[in-house]
């Protein structure tokens, strides 16, 4: 739990201007706390894996969208579903190719249990991208690699959704 608390704290810091990049292993029980720290923002939660080539092609576009809309209240968080034993590999890939990509990994439980925190009907397809509202609710699920234009359009729509302000 100590590492989990650290992750939440670091996530919170990263949106106050500190360039903290976070990778930490969390369990399904801990994931709601991580997401709860992001309340008040519109969150892109990207479910990915190091073995998923389309996922890795999509991440640069996700980062670009976050950079463009950060000031409007958009944040990006990855959820890597790699086996917990591969956490070091997740971090190696992230550091080497996407150092600005904040992500969490699995500390335990299966991938389905993790993603079910936001989507009990997840069908184990990656990449899967969720738009979470400022209240933490799941607004939309998108599957497959998306274009930067599509990601921008979706994010802008939800940033402007008065029902979730």
């Amino acid at each position: 739990m100590a590492t989990h608390a650290l992750a939440v704290a670091a996530l919170a810091m990263s949106w106050t201007g500190t360039p903290a990049q976070v990778i930490d292993a969390v369990s399904p029980a801990e994931l709601p706390g991580v997401l709860g720290a992001l309340r008040g923002q519109v969150v892109i939660l990207n479910v990915w894996a190091t073995w998923c080539a389309p996922c890795l092609k999509e991440i640069p576009d996700l980062l670009a969208v976050e950079a463009e809309l950060r000031d409007e209240g958009l944040v990006l968080l990855g959820l890597a579903i790699d086996d917990p034993a591969d956490a070091a590999e997740v971090e190696r890939v992230r550091q080497q190719h996407f150092p600005g990509f904040r992500t969490v990994t699995r500390a335990g439980g299966d991938a389905d249990s993790m993603v079910s925190v936001v989507d009990p009907a997840w069908n184990e397809v990656v990449p899967t991208t969720y738009l979470l509202g400022r209240d933490g609710g799941t607004l939309q699920r998108l599957q497959g690699k998306l274009s930067r234009q599509d990601l921008l359009a979706v994010a802008r729509r939800h940033l402007g959704d008065p029902a979730r302000q």
Partner: protein, 442 residues
């Protein structure tokens, strides 16, 4: 049966642990202390039940010493072991497991890319798996298809045959840190000592053409020797959707997902009538087109009963998406629209099929209501025209999933992953679990 004899049988059932339970409920196959996943099952002609599974390991030596991931960061490195247990008492109990692969971490595997097992008419146990190796020219890791057999009832296995050639291409920049990947495969056996292996192959993958080809190798002497590998399907196969295959009446049926030019990933069935030398044009099953640029990781399950060919898959293009089954009554030339197996579930996936005594049995995992996913079964008494209501097999709070089936007696032997444990039970075609009334066709 006399009263005395009946009493003696009852006493015997009481005295022999697990025997009475075998008829009533599931039996643990993998022992405590094992973190098991991805079961497969086969039943030998003498009734012996074989269940194998995967366990991840960090002991792999060869891959750890090989090259790093690709420039794109994509990494497919994984080390696992195959464990095998057998039951000679009808599934009442299972032996202590033995490891199939001799070298630590020799297997590249996941629940969606798992080894296959079959038992030939001679009783030879065949295991086909994606094996970790090192590409000699570059020193990079490569995944190659391997087959190993046991002629002593699964107690020991011969060193594996490597069935796929080591390509000259270095595709580590495209598909992974691997030089190439020859994986997501399957194997089927015929009654004449034939073993037919298929896998998805990245050797001809390019940036412009990111899909896989299907290659094959064939043994006609019960796995003693194997042919050189050869291409059977062109470069339009979903590279992450594991292949399936079955044989019936001298034909081989191969299930895959074909990627259309528009990006649809449709389940298709290919049929060979010449022991795998060639395949007829693939026929689409009865599901909806599913367009996605991602890793669906969805296989196409098959079962054959005479002229009836059944295909089941996750139908991502359907409304709602989920596990569906489609039938062909003309030997696989055309398929009827797919029917949902579990329309009320929030999600249903990983369907498998078997036909026992003319009864089509389906198993899958699904989430219906609160809690984690569980394993469900259904049956059709009219060759796939209608199915009984979904019946939950699993119990408890642990997630249950990835079921597999093998025909045994007047029913099927079912195995699945329950938490970190592999569990098995028999299910008769007339088991009360199937309910009384078939579900109406939608």
């Amino acid at each position: 049966m006399s009263r005395i004899t009946a009493s003696a049988v009852l006493a015997l059932l009481t005295l022999v642990p697990g025997l009475a339970d075998a008829a009533a409920g599931p039996v643990n196959v993998s022992p405590a202390g094992h973190k098991a996943m991805a079961p497969e099952i086969a039943v030998a002609p003498d009734g012996t039940i074989f269940v194998l599974w995967l366990e991840r390991t960090t002991r792999g030596e060869q891959i750890a010493a090989a090259g790093a991931a690709s420039a794109e960061g994509h990494t497919h490195q994984a080390e696992a072991d195959i464990w095998l247990a057998r039951s000679v008492d009808g599934g009442a109990s299972f032996s202590a497991p033995g490891r199939v692969n001799a070298r630590d971490g020799a297997v590249w595997g996941f629940p969606v890319s798992k080894p296959r097992i079959g038992v030939s008419a001679s009783g030879t146990v065949h295991v086909f798996f994606p094996g970790n190796a090192v590409e000699p020219r570059t020193g990079k890791p490569i995944v190659l298809p391997m087959a190993s057999r046991s002629r002593d009832g699964g107690r020991t296995f011969d060193p594996p045959h490597v069935l796929g050639a080591v390509p000259e291409s270095d595709n580590s920049h495209l598909v992974s840190g691997l030089a190439n990947a020859e994986c997501f495969g399957t194997m089927t056996l015929d009654e004449r000592g034939g073993a037919f292996a298929y896998w998805i192959d990245t050797r001809d993958m390019t940036t412009e053409q990111p899909n896989g080809k299907v290659f094959s190798a064939v043994s006609t002497d019960d796995g003693a020797t194997w042919s050189r590998d050869f291409e059977v399907l062109p470069a339009d196969t979903c590279p992450c959707c594991q292949l399936t295959a079955t044989t019936a009446a001298g034909r081989i049926y191969l299930g895959s997902r074909r990627v259309s030019p528009a990006g649809d990933r449709d389940s298709v069935v290919a049929i060979s009538s010449d022991r795998g030398r060639s395949f007829q044009p693939r026929t689409a099953w009865g599901g909806a087109p599913w367009r996605i640029e991602g890793c669906p990781l969805k296989a196409t399950a098959l079962a054959v009963d005479g002229a009836a060919v059944y295909a089941a898959a996750f139908d991502g293009g359907a409304t709602p998406p989920g596990a569906r089954v489609s039938r062909s009554l003309d030997g696989g030339r055309s398929f009827q629209p797919a029917l949902p197996l579990h329309p009320a579930a929030a999600v249903s996936d990983a369907p498998v099929l078997a036909v026992s005594n003319g009864v089509l049995i389906a198993a899958w995992h699904a989430k219906a209501g609160d809690g984690p996913r569980q394993v469900y079964v259904s049956r059709s008494l009219d060759r796939g025209g209608a199915f009984s209501p979904p019946a939950r097999v699993t119990a408890g709070d642990d997630s249950g999933g990835y079921p597999v089936l093998a025909v045994r007696g007047q029913g099927v032997q079912l195995a699945w992953q329950q938490g970190d444990t592999i569990v098995s039970r028999h299910l008769a075609v007339d088991d009360p679990l199937f309910g009384l009334a078939p579900a109406p066709a939608p």
